[in-house]
Symmetry: C2
Subunit: 112 residues, 2 copies
DNA sequence: TCAGGTACTCACCAAAAGGTAAGTAAGGAG
DNA sequence: CTCCTTACTTACCTTTTGGTGAGTACCTGA
């Protein structure tokens, strides 16, 4: 019998979902409520439009974020967390806390 | 005033530590106690020697895992979690749980 | 003398991820 | 008729990450 899942544990699966340079920051930004594309671009500083869209699309296809288009000119698109996305953020909270708690150590051992 | 930290939140810092294709699985394998290099190679199925060492070295430099050499022939090296590593694993537990809980959805929306 | 077992180490290559810069669409304002 | 805003989209390039396969060091036991 071959493995039914490509993942070896839940952590493995979760890592697949939040993997990518900008996803944690996007998730964190959306934690405070729906955001427009342009707002996210500002809040997630350093991200380019291409990367932001790419990551949002991936999160959308994973049903982590919801995309709502308002048919206006100029266009308006709002991104928000789905129920699944909110539960993911809840699971992410302890990790965020860990990172905050050990920020000094983490920075001290940062490569380069 | 420039930012003092390269990280924008704890999650960002944590992601930097656990980033890499094999780190979550290595961490999970070490959760059950110290492991020799050869044991990890078997438990983390699919990993090559080069990648395993590389990731272990990174975790070691971040003070997440401890490396202990036994001066024998043939050589024996044991890897185990440090206190920091254990606390990281604790923070990772909810994420693992989330992944396990939503395995079906995650698989269903997997690209390719 | 030589194979065996363990933990690496290295040179080289392939693939994936990320970055840059320019362009598109749509309609309202001037 | 042109500019403005917003949210993308595309082509192309660079960087990072991961993979392959071979080689090394060490002592032991046959």
């Amino acid at each position: 019998m071959a493995a039914v899942t490509p993942y070896t544990c839940g952590l493995d699966a979760a890592a697949d979902v939040i993997g990518g340079k900008w996803k944690p920051r996007i998730l964190w930004a959306l934690h405070h409520g729906p955001r427009r594309f342009g707002e996210l671009r500002k809040e997630v500083s350093g991200v380019t439009e291409k990367m932001l869209i790419q990551q949002l699309r991936e999160l959308e296809s994973r049903d982590i974020v919801h995309r709502e288009v308002f048919h206006q000119v100029p266009p308006k698109v709002e991104y928000s967390l789905t129920t699944l996305g909110e539960s993911l953020n809840v699971a992410l909270a302890p990790l965020d806390q860990w990172g905050a708690d050990h920020l000094t150590e983490i920075e001290a051992t940062r490569p380069c």
